[in-house]
Symmetry: C2
Subunit: 503 residues, 2 copies
């Protein structure tokens, strides 16, 4: 009899336990259903304010907010002073830092010396297009004004409109919350390669929303005279993908339209500035070719109770190896990091060689000009510098190229150096012809030394920028708040850093 009671007791306990468990499952199920209902953030148009999305998607929003912690300013011109020679005559020679988190996108583009110190909406060195990847407000503006109007005029024109940093509305449809490519230049880029958005799978979309911004681009410039007789300049972000993603293919595209970003004032070479071809580089690597998307490693799944969501604190997958790499690879975290570190070392090694070579080529070309070289004599060498610098820049301008496509990156760096050295050999012959033998380029091994070699007044740039920050920028922010575009609380805890502020 005792045994029977015991069995009964255990059975009852089990039934109670199962009931509790069922209740818990039901609770989680309700939570899941509530979440899966996908609330409408905005019925029509684009919601650019990230904190509004955060009311409906707290987990994703809170993880996105953690990009605030990635706030380190790493002055790359100091780390790699060759850049100052290579980019002489272009904004990047003034200021170039390793990227901070998405949270800082608007602040960083405002702080960088590259965008100068405009005094009003029609002033400053940069076109409107320079906002294009910094904010969902850009999508809102395109939606409201049309793409052409958005791209017309100066960067300062939209200073009181583009105020919320890269966030929810950049990748998600405000009504359905589905992944959405809203930047028309990506769609046109894919079409130029014979690809259609309608063929894209959800997995494709998990890379393509990133590719809207993490891609190589140039500004297609058109001019027209408005009804008021004033010249209107439109700079449209355009992806140079027609020939393919390979460095030489993009180079051939730029050559075919005779495009240059700037002329280096030392060598007078017509230079292409590579932007950040993450998507193109990733596509040439094995992880993409095996079907992975950006989000697989940069936005791993997280589990909270019954809810699985993607981590929107987008950064370095190596910070979170257990949830990223090690879900497929069977090594210890230490061994995995060791292998990746060697890849980085190899890239850094070849990158240094290529940068030193190309910087010398610019300086030696300057010496050739100074010694009386003619355009006809210099033409072939300058073309080598253009192509060499392009291949270097395209191979390393994107984050993590050394990992996304290690072999392709090394190949391009080797090609870059080869072209730079060929230019130097041509220039040595020109120099000798003009009586200069054994010329050695001046020292560019520190930021200060390199800056002294190029036509630039950095102190003046910094002073002007600080005036802008204390003046027009404050006005932009006030106007944006007044218009209801910016919620000042959304900037709480935002550290204000730049390469020149000493923070």
């Amino acid at each position: 009899m005792k045994k029977s009671y015991a069995v009964l007791g255990i059975s009852l306990a089990a039934i109670v336990g199962m009931g509790v468990l069922a209740g818990s499952i039901k609770g989680k199920e309700e939570e899941r259903q509530a979440i899966n209902q996908s609330p409408v953030v905005k019925e029509k148009g684009i919601e650019a304010k990230n904190e509004v999305w955060g009311q409906y998607f707290p987990r994703e929003y809170n993880s996105w907010k953690l990009t605030k912690k990635s706030d380190n300013i790493n002055d790359l011109l100091k780390a790699k002073p060759q850049l100052i020679i290579l980019w002489a005559g272009y904004g990047f020679a003034k200021d170039y830092n390793a990227p901070r988190g998405h949270f800082y996108a608007v602040q960083d583009v405002t702080n960088t010396l590259r965008t100068g110190a405009p005094t009003g909406p029609t002033d400053g060195p940069q076109p409107a297009a320079c906002w294009s990847c910094k904010s969902p407000d850009v999508l809102r503006l395109i939606d409201e004004k049309g793409e052409k109007d958005y791209f017309t005029g100066k960067w300062a024109r939209w200073g009181n409109e583009v105020v919320n940093p890269i966030g929810c509305g950049d990748c998600h449809d405000s009504k359905t919350a589905n992944l959405k490519v809203s930047r028309p230049w990506l769609i046109r880029g894919l079409e130029s390669m014979g690809k259609k958005m309608s063929d894209m799978t959800h997995q494709d979309m998990r890379s393509l929303v990133c590719a809207q911004c993490h891609s190589e681009y140039y500004f297609d410039t058109t001019k027209e005279t408005g009804p008021d007789g004033a010249e209107k300049i439109t700079n449209t972000v355009t992806f140079p993908w027609k020939n393919g993603f390979k460095g030489e293919e993009v180079e051939a595209y730029y050559d075919s339209i005779n495009f240059k970003d700037f002329t280096n004032p030392l060598s007078k070479a017509p230079i292409l500035k590579a932007q950040h071809p993450e998507y193109e580089t990733f596509a040439s690597g094995i992880h993409f070719q095996r079907g992975l998307a950006c989000a697989d490693c940069h936005m791993p799944y997280k589990q909270e109770g019954a809810v699985k969501y993607t981590d929107h604190n987008i950064g370095n997958p190596l910070d979170n190896v257990a949830s990223t790499c090690l879900t497929c690879h069977q090594e210890s975290e230490a061994e995995f990091k060791r292998v990746v570190a060697v890849k980085l070392e190899r890239k850094e090694e070849l990158q240094k060689i290529a940068m030193d070579t190309l910087a010398k080529a610019h300086l030696e070309a300057k010496k050739a000009w100074d010694s009386g070289a003619t355009e006809e004599e210099m033409k072939a060498a300058l073309q080598d510098i253009r192509h060499g610098q392009w291949r270097w820049d395209y191979s390393i301008a994107s984050h993590g190229a050394f990992f996304h496509a290690p072999e392709e990156t090394l190949r391009l760096l080797a090609q870059a150096n080869e072209l730079g050295q060929e230019a130097r050999i041509k220039i040595a012959a020109i120099l000798a012809k003009h009586g200069v033998i054994g010329y050695e380029a001046p020292d560019f091994s520190t930021k200060e030394k390199a800056l002294a070699l190029i036509p630039i007044d950095l102190a003046k740039e910094i002073t002007a920028k600080q005036q802008f920050q204390n003046g027009l920028l404050q006005q932009w922010q006030k106007e944006a708040i007044d218009k209801g575009l910016l919620n000042p609380q959304s900037r709480e805890g935002m550290s204000n850093k730049s390469s020149y502020s000493g923070n």
Copy 2:
């Protein structure tokens, strides 16, 4: 009742079936046990005749015999004429082919113009050491005569002794058939790195038996005077591993002992000839680092009945993707081959650039000498050529380097080209100093054109070689047969090919 009979019938059938199966299992078990008994091929010493091993290990022997089918002569001097300039003054500029199967090892070393046309045991350009990786007879000789005596004197000294091609006794103990490293220079090489054979696992051994020959080496030369007053020269195969396997580490080792393989007569640069550092290259790649051995891909398991054995038809794993790569990787064979082909393309691309650069450097250095350059002026450029050529050669001299360590291979090729270009820039300044501006190296784009640029009389070499083949070589073979060292049937079906015979 009918049902009961049916059940009984099925049961009886099952019992009979199980009996048959058990009998079959027992048969296979006996076969397995017989095989596992590991017959003694030779109680004492080394059995160099492969066909003797074949009596005990028919499956392994028959698969080894299939290396006979890999008999294509691919004249690499024709495919890559730059090699003729790079190796000017060294045997490889006379004759260099893609490798044939193990079955041809003795024939190939005998046929190559590199070993010249000796007329007797103390004649010819090469030392005894040139047999070291061609035959298990080498191990037999070392066992019988001692290592030092084996390494003393000329290659022709052992022409009637080394007659069986690379085979069973090279990797297996003749008594136990276990894997065995019998070449003492590998053991010393490992010891120089602080490694002990006694620590090696069976999996290590599945690479190390290959590493006996598939490694970088040089000849450590010593001279002494014998009791008869005659000078005795000993060339001992030595692995330069003390500093590590990396290209620069081996280079530093060679520099530290002031070693060179030859002087290029064009540039007068002291050149290092890389041999075939497969083991070192494989060790720097991810497959080795994940625990794979050479045999895992080059000797996949085969199953015949109950017997599992390793395929001894050692060659390209891509010829057998299903049994090699695809046992771990989950792609289609076509996709797998596509990925590997891209790796090869990248290597070929950077290899061509580096070879062109280095060949030009040699020819431009010659012009500098011809124009009156001094040793002091040329020193730094020649050191760059030495290091550049070493890094090129070390990166690609081993089979499959592009696959074994794709990133490391590309890195070294980029370094090789960088050093070659630095040499060219230095030489351009020297040339200019001596009044030569804009010199362009002569055309070396075909085997004929390249041969015309170096001091060589290939027709004379070929005639002498053919006399040797019809004379002394025939005598060697007869003597070996008479001594019972060579079974003439073992050479049946051996095609006699060389780059110069027109076969």
